[in-house]
């Protein structure tokens, strides 16, 4: 099982490869014109900050807290479920 600590020891390229293979896509948002994509892996989350969408990642932010998920949850359209 991959832990958050073990994930953080990987290089960014290895982290992105692992996310591609095993990550679960949660959502996407735009901050100051740049795209961020949120993935879940095991019991933690990784937000990929893109310089160029799905091509050049400038930063990966890993966390366990659910607080950073709020902007993604707000963007989910639940109207059709009501």
């Amino acid at each position: 099982m991959m832990t958050l600590f073990a994930f953080q020891l990987l290089t960014p390229a290895e982290q992105l490869d692992l996310l591609y293979e095993a990550g679960t896509y949660i959502g996407k948002r735009r901050v100051e014109g740049r795209v961020r994509i949120l993935y879940q892996l095991e019991g933690f989350y990784i937000e990929v900050h893109y310089k160029k969408y799905r091509c050049i990642a400038e930063k990966l932010v890993c966390f366990r807290s659910t607080i950073p998920l709020e902007p993604y949850l707000e963007a989910i359209d639940v109207e059709h479920l009501v």
């Binding site: 390229a13 992105l16 490869d17 996310l19 591609y20 293979e21 095993a22 990550g23 679960t24 896509y25 996407k28 795209v35 994509i37 990929v48 160029k52 969408y53 799905r54 091509c55 050049i56 990642a57």
Partner: protein, 148 residues
């Protein structure tokens, strides 16, 4: 929906995410001499485009479908295409954020490819090759000849 007047090999790509539409259009730009990417922003629009093709119009050499789309989703489009005699054999790829075995199984069951959307450039390069590999053989050869 976007397409030019010049007749080329058509790749039809349906996705509601404008960033993904642009990403795939850029990936195919290197084959612009042979391939034109026609885009649709949902599954309904993709089906309307296909249903409007006359018997004289060439069929797309590849149809790329996002899974989660409004109006008609990618899986519904694929199911519909496989019941339409004219499109039953057209190569289709589900291009999705999912890497779930169930979605892969669905694609396999309906004779389609399954490609997870990339997270970095080197994956996008591999995916472009996979798209080409799914194209009809004649087109594939033509594109690879151009690349040599």
């Amino acid at each position: 929906m976007t397409h030019s007047i010049t007749p080329k090999n058509i790749v039809l790509y349906a996705d509601d995410d404008p960033d993904d539409l642009q990403l795939v259009q850029e990936a195919f730009a290197q084959f612009a001499r042979d391939v034109e990417v026609v885009t649709a922003s949902d599954g309904g629009q993709a089906l309307s485009y296909l249903e409007a093709l006359s018997d004289l119009d060439p069929l797309p050499c590849l149809i790329i479908l996002d899974v989660n789309m409004p109006v008609v989703d990618g899986k519904q489009v694929l199911r519909r295409l496989r019941t339409m005699e004219r499109f039953a054999e057209v190569p289709v790829v589900l291009f999705t954020t999912s890497s779930q075995p169930a979605d892969q199984g669905f694609a396999e069951k309906h004779g389609a490819g399954f490609i997870t959307k990339p997270l970095q450039f080197k994956q996008m390069e591999l995916i472009t090759d996979q798209f080409i590999a799914h194209c009809a053989e004649e087109i594939r050869k033509k594109i690879r000849r151009q690349m040599q």
